[in-house]
Amino acid sequence: MNKSSLRSKLLNAPYILWSVLFILAPMLMVVYYAFTNRDGEFTWENITALSAYGATFGRSVWYALLATLICLLLSYPLAYIMARSKASQQRTLMMLIMLPMWMNFLIRTYSWMAILSNTGIINTVIQAIGLPPAQMINTPGAVILGMVYNFLPYMVLPIYSVMSKLEYSLVEAAQDLGCNAFAVLKRIIFPLSLPGVISGITMVFVPSVSTFYISQKLGGGKFLLVGDSIEMQFQSAYNYNLGASLSLVLMLMIVICMLVMNRFADSEEGAILV
């Protein structure tokens, strides 16, 4: 072994140790708990018990997909406008998007409770002008709104970052070859911003599908998401084994989603290249 590779091994050591201690070990523990009972004996029980959670998983995925789609529809034009505006405006817009993230996640969600609740700001205004109050809090809509609000920056930033690097001469070249504004968007800007869109989708979908806090606070615990179920098993039911098996399935789902997204990205590029 030569000197430089020894040194690089030494330099890598802390990171490897960190990864093992805080990433690999917890994951293995999740797997261990998922396949054992309270006495530490191997069992399939926790896995078979999951059949009762089909609706919960379905709801989680559905809400997360909706939230991701809404984020994408909001972010794409915003990122485009940002990337095309002046440098000083770009900084201001970026600041406005980042600003809510300076506040704690819990406080942001509590604020939405105050806005949406039956005696909240919106309903107070509605009633003041003589309309019947609207039920907003504790609805699926409120939960999805919470997801969109909290995770929007994770969609805007990657798309913006790709778009701001897009060379404007490519747009001019497309115009030069006969593209109107719509054709430029369809044939140049969209395909070139796809990597940003895909990482944005991943970064919004993953936290949305596993969230528990948003659904508890804005959904009032009326409908459980996977995250809620996991939290319940660990925090109140003290059934680490079932909690672990739920986590394991969620993890697998996320990995599969990411693989599909990556495959989609690859094949998209491949399709154009071939």
């Binding site: 060379e167 490519l170 001019e172 115009q175 006969g178 070139l192 154009i272």
Partner: protein
């Protein structure tokens, strides 16, 4: 359309950005089938002129006429001109075939027609068999060829080229110059070529438009521009030149460096102060007693084909290119034939370009406008 008819006419074009005037009342017409070059230092407005023709930029005032029809307000995608961009602007997500087919697909051409045209274009630019290649895997020269093929595939009436060879190395640049000229002659379409490289302009163009500070300094054939520069700027920018203060006493008689010379210029006022240009290769070295002017050699550089000699004549340092060797310190005489003397009216550029007293190769390169895309954009955007 008949050959030599005017295809593009720019009338009184003015443009300014942020209070800085980029083009000042520019008038220029371009004939069909012509290879015309806009030549000038960076920031002179040549790229801006090209962008106005392409439709990427609307002039503040003035008219752009294409085959008799006003083009003001017509967007780029509806104009029959195509551009080859400075850094090619090839689409990185498409392969070579799809890049070239891009404009044809937009025109909704049939599959067979697209395939046929792309093949023709690839043959034209010597890139047969490159259809499936990724843009990123191509060399600079190959990318340049794809850019040419892409622009020509849609059969434009006029091709605009914005410093297309700027990113290539010298050898490749020479090859591409010949190839571009060849393509232009074969297809017979109008080329409007923008460059800061005078040699490129001289060797490729039918017509050269020399520009500076947003104004046209001179329009003419390469030989006209070189042999009969209109002012000190053109004389200095194109090739090497000795630019002297002179007085035109009468037709065919000019005085400089205290000597009267016969020349072939006329039509100046009596005793009008003028600028006189003598090209370094047009000066003959003779024995001191036989010379019209006498001086001392201060520097000699061997250039391969010739020597470049700096001669101090009464304080003015001349550059002379000659195949005869002289040593530093030699006293020599020089002779200039009447037809080698070019007399010009005084202009705002008079006196800006001195003699070769501070001359060195490095200095010359440093003071040359460096044609980076950034500085061009900064100046012209």
């Amino acid at each position: 359309m008949e050959k030599n008819a005017v295809i593009i006419d720019l009338k009184n074009i003015s443009v300014s950005f942020d209070g800085q005037q980029i083009l000042k009342d520019l008038n220029l017409y371009i004939r069909d089938g012509e290879f015309i070059t806009l030549l000038g230092p960076s920031g002179c407005g040549k790229t801006t002129t090209l962008r106005i023709i392409a439709g990427f930029l609307e002039p503040d005032s003035g008219e752009v006429v294409f085959e008799g029809k006003t083009m003001n307000g017509v967007p780029a995608h509806k104009r029959q001109v195509n551009t080859i961009f400075q850094r090619y602007a090839l689409f990185p997500h498409l392969n070579v075939f799809e890049n070239i087919a891009f404009g044809l697909r937009q025109q909704k051409k049939s599959k067979d027609e697209i395939r046929k045209t792309v093949e023709e274009m690839l043959a034209l630019v010597n890139l047969k068999g490159f259809e499936k290649r990724n843009i990123a895997s191509l060399s600079g020269g190959q990318q340049q060829r794809v850019a040419i093929a892409r622009a020509l595939a849609v059969k434009p009436r006029v091709l605009l080229l914005d410093e297309p060879l700027g990113a290539l190395d010298l050898k490749l640049r020479k090859d591409m110059q010949a190839e571009l000229k060849n393509i232009q002659q074969r297809l017979g379409i109008t080329f409007i070529y923008v460059t800061h490289d005078q040699e490129e302009a001289l060797s490729m163009s039918d017509t050269i438009v020399v520009m500076d500070s947003g104004e046209i300094q001179q329009i003419g054939s390469p030989t006209d521009i070189y042999n009969e520069p209109k002012n000190a700027f053109v004389a200095d920018f194109i090739g090497e030149s000795n630019i002297l203060d002179g007085i035109m006493h009468a037709d065919f008689s000019v005085e400089f460096q205290g000597m009267k010379f016969r020349c072939v210029d006329k039509g100046f006022g009596k005793d009008e102060p003028v600028d006189v240009v003598v090209r370094p290769e047009d000066v003959d070295i003779v024995a001191p007693e036989a010379g019209m002017l006498r001086g001392t050699v201060t520097s000699v550089t061997f250039k391969g084909v010739h020597y470049e000699i700096i001669v101090d004549i009464d304080g003015f340092k001349w550059m002379i290119q000659t195949t005869d060797y002289s040593a530093v310190g030699d006293k020599i005489g020089i002779c200039i034939k009447p037809e080698e003397i070019q007399v010009m009216h005084k202009s705002v550029y008079s006196g800006l370009y001195g003699d070769y007293s501070s001359f060195s190769e490095e200095f010359d390169e440093l003071s040359d406008p460096i044609p980076t895309a950034e500085s061009d954009e900064a100046a012209e955007e």
